[in-house]
Amino acid sequence: MTDRREFLRWSLLGTLASQFGSLDRLGVFDAQEGGQAAPKAAGKLQPKACIVLWMNGGPSHVDTWDPKPGTKEGGPFKAIRTSVKGIEICEHLPQVAAQMEHLAILRGMTSREGNHQRAAQLLHTGYSPNPTVAFPALGSLMAEELGDAEAELPNFVSLAGPSTGGGILGVRFNPFVVQNPLEPPQNVALWRNAGEARFARRLALLGELEAGFKGTTLDPKVDERQEVYRKAVKLMRSPRLKAFDLTTEPESLKRAYGTTPFGQGCLLARRLIENGVRCVEVTLDGWDTHKDNFGRTKTLMGTLDPAMATLVADLRQRDLLDSTLVVWIGEFGRTPVINGDEGRDHHPGAWSAVLAGGGIRGGQVVGATDSAGDKVVDAPTTVPDLYATLAATLGLDAEKTFISPSGRPIKLVDKAGKPLRQLLG
């Protein structure tokens, strides 16, 4: 669990740092600012935020959001009623079922990418992978379009998963990855023998070296690198780092989310959003259930259900749900046909995604699959359609064009994507 001493050291650093500002010649160690800057464009609405629940491995749609009870392919799980009349989901998602009025299930998702890596790229960026263009992740797009460049915390944080990077937008829009949500982020705390005074001394020495090197090369890249250092030190000193410290949360709430890394990751996601982070991705791994699909899927839902339901309820209680879009996705669905190992294989042709909050109209199901869950029979929805919907909800301009390094124009959302009007408020 979290080491309180480390967090204490962070905050100490924050309060003492300003005393040493004068030692720093290049401004790496500039004067302490009070808290996060107000949202840019004061007077306008705070930009929206997004929490992506990434189900790594490709979750079975039939065993979660699109149950087919009583069929050969449906498997052993029963369907249960939800808070919305007429909508049923898997029995192992009872807490989420009680939040159904805030959720929209997209049962008509379809793609052609059945390979994990390619499908993960597609779902993270809205584009099928293309070896000539590195498409940016949703979180990178949000950081670039909606983020505050001077924010102390990174605008895009990934918990327990690598996610996808900034691609053509540049590495500065890569996710800030925290491998274990139960531990402080790596390398943010000062080295144990570097007290604040010593760290300031070191930065001053470094500043001299940088000034000297700049003098011999006259290359602005030296300043650009110093700028990255400045932001890193700003992060180290930020009082907002406390967002990563879950120890101040009530035990009851922590238990409600579930004491799993994913559950605590969802709680951390909420705290980060409260502190101005634009996009947080939380990964729940293990959905690649070629074997023992039902045992493993049930266990995973045991982790997912309290975390996702509590996240929606918690956001709502804090009046954050309307401004925070929760997106539940994985690479693809899984075959209705149960294989010889009691498993299900990759099934990109038909699967489900779930959206909640962010101003979308909840309490509805969009699209449908056939009686087995094999093919989409109503409202087929492509990943570009999903991205067009996300863009419309989050306030991203889908038509915005970026130029890749090779000179190719790239639209923020694939032009084939059409937003699902029935979801937009």
């Binding site: 943010v188 023998n193 070191r202 020495l205 090197f213 090369t217 006259l218 030296v222 690198r225 090779s406």
Partner: protein, 581 residues
């Protein structure tokens, strides 16, 4: 794909009268032709080139580019003070003769060709690396290396090899390569590259064309190329050249944690896995052709025909593609950018690239010779001095380039001597620890390829690692056997010690002013700080636990030693250390 090519060199060089017809016999591949072309160009463009870099900078630059490692401090010192003429050429020759050259380029091509591979079940990365290792060890002509890769057949693995997932972090050395290559003569490690694309013939074709020909034919996968003449039909016919490749899985049973053996070969019929899939049919059933329309047959010999076509001296893309890639590696940007996006119409190539390609082909596709020519050219030896906004155009100054992740890691480990510490104090876990460290670096410093970067591209987590990690902090501590302790215990005064630290980290001696500042820093009276115990011993994700515990036990004894630690830390965090210049 719309390629607004940055022909910053090409158009300009094209204004110069075309070079004379290639004289017979073959022109030599040397720096003279590069120098001549650029000298004329600088004159025409009225560019004042930066002065030549000093010896220390040259050795560091060439060591990093040729072998991926820093020059050892004693080597740097000897080179700086060597007064013999021709020492730069001698240095390049000796770097090319080291094992580190082979290690480094094996890693370079492994990262490029295999990268973050996914098919770990069937992909024996070690056997691939061993194959690559031998190619670079023997300086196998580049046309033979590529032909052997494209047409590779045989077994992927001797069996019982561990699966390596996700990040390609394992490394090859001579002893291991020798052992692997001797273990089973029926193994051809090269097939692992084909296996990587075992379900995606279109990606195999795209990678082949892009990597070895610099032609982005895969842009024509879904539609005709927007700016080049390539059609969807061209792409399909090119991809179809792989359609007779067959994969026979030899290990049918489950092999948890082990690579399954696969035999790669060729069949008369179209057999590529997935050939029956509807969406692959257009690729697999088109008549196999080279990009210029040369028919490649349509039988078990098609892949061989493809390899011959790609590496033929008449193939106009093959030699320029590797020359431009190597130019980009050494000079921070290709003669044409993006360096792996050559035009269909080769009359648009910069004449210098055409000429160098011709010379490379005429001289036996000899990579070491190409590297020597580039490294001893006037262009490569310019100082990194950017005069004015346009400064550095046409290689009139050397660009600042970030170190590749594995190079940066090696440089840190080398400068701090952490490797020797691990050897002494954690010998049995050394490989595992180094893998942990490499994983961090590959993850945090991952750069896709070395395209020209106009601005510094870096991230906050990278800076945080350099600022606060145990590698850069405990590594710069006074621990017996580590770099700083060695420096402190050598005879001589503090000025000598500062000089040694500079040689270790920056491969140069400090200027008089730097020396003065460092001595002044040492002289500031301050109280020593206690060496604190680890508070996070249980979390040893960065692998530095054993070193950190040593540092707690030993560590700096007084304020003066701590000041030395501070200086060393600052040197390793500096742009001069972290960039190749």
């Amino acid at each position: 794909m719309i390629g607004i090519r940055l022909v910053f060199s090409g158009l300009l060089l094209a204004a110069v009268p075309a070079p004379p017809e290639r004289p017979e016999p073959a022109p030599s591949l040397s720096s003279a032709s590069i120098d001549e072309a650029l000298r004329r160009q600088w004159k025409t463009e009225k560019i004042r080139p930066a002065p030549l870099c000093d010896d220390a900078t040259f050795l560091r630059r060439a060591s990093l580019d040729i072998t991926g490692t820093l020059p050892p401090p004693d080597v740097a010192y000897a080179f700086i003070h060597d007064v013999r003429p021709g020492k730069r050429g001698a240095a390049v020759d000796s770097l090319l003769a080291t094992r580190k050259y082979t290690d480094y380029w094996t890693g370079y091509w492994d990262a490029l060709l295999i990268g973050r591979a996914t098919r770990a079940q069937f992909l024996d990365r070690a056997s691939f690396q061993a194959w690559m290792y031998r190619a670079f060890e023997k300086n196998t002509p580049w046309n033979k290396v590529v032909a052997d890769l494209v047409s590779a057949s045989g077994k992927n693995s001797p069996g019982e090899m561990p699966r390596i997932k996700n990040l390609g972090v394992s490394r090859m050395d001579k002893a291991r390569a020798d052992e692997l290559l001797a273990s089973d003569p029926s193994v051809n490690g090269a097939v692992n590259w084909i296996i990587k694309y075992g379900q995606l013939p279109q990606d195999l074709a795209g990678a082949t064309s892009k990597t070895f020909l610099g032609v982005q034919i895969q842009c024509a996968q879904c539609h005709d190329h927007k700016t080049e003449k390539w059609t969807q039909g061209d792409f399909r016919s090119f991809a179809s050249a792989f359609s007779h490749t067959k994969f026979d899985v030899l290990d049918k049973e489950r092999k948890p944690g082990e690579v399954k053996r696969v035999e790669v070969g060729d069949a008369q019929r179209v057999v590529f896995p997935g050939a029956r899939q509807e969406e692959l049919k257009p690729f697999l059933n088109a008549p196999p052709k080279g990009l210029d329309g040369t028919s490649l047959g349509g039988d078990a010999g098609t892949r061989k025909a493809l390899a011959d076509w790609i590496t033929s001296p008449r193939n106009p893309w093959f030699a320029p593609a590797i020359v431009n890639r190597m130019w980009a590696h050494f000079l921070g940007g290709g003669l044409l950018e993006p360096f792996d996006d050559l035009p269909a119409d080769l009359s648009k190539l910069p004449p210098l690239l055409t000429a160098l390609g011709g010379e490379f082909a005429a001289n036996g596709y000899d990579l070491k010779r190409l590297i020597r020519a580039i490294c001893l050219s006037q262009a490569y030896q310019r100082a990194a001095l950017k005069q004015g906004k346009e400064g550095g155009r046409l290689w009139s100054a050397h660009p600042l380039r970030p170190l590749r992740p594995e190079v940066l890691m090696d440089a840190l480990i080398q400068a701090t001597n952490v490797d020797a510490l691990l050897q002494d104090h954690a010998a049995e876990r050394r490989d595992q620890i180094k893998t942990q460290i490499i994983q961090q670096f590959v993850f945090l410093f991952d750069v896709d390829e070395e395209h020209e970067q106009r601005s510094f591209e870096g991230t906050i987590p990278q800076a945080l690692l350099l600022l606060n990690s145990r590698l850069t902090n405990d590594g710069t501590s006074v621990i017996p056997g580590a770099a700083l302790a060695q420096v402190l215990h050598q005879p001589g005064d503090d000025a000598t010690r500062i000089q040694n630290l500079y040689l270790r980290a920056l491969s140069r001696e400090p200027t008089a002013d730097e020396l003065k500042r460092c001595l002044a820093f040492l002289a500031v009276p301050r109280s020593a700080q206690a060496n604190l115990p680890e508070t996070r011993a249980a979390k040893d994700r960065d692998g530095m636990g054993p070193i950190a515990r040593l540092a707690v036990r030993t560590g700096a004894r007084d304020a003066r030693e701590q000041a030395f630690e501070d200086i060393f830390w600052a040197l390793l965090n500096s742009s001069e250390f972290n960039l190749n210049h």
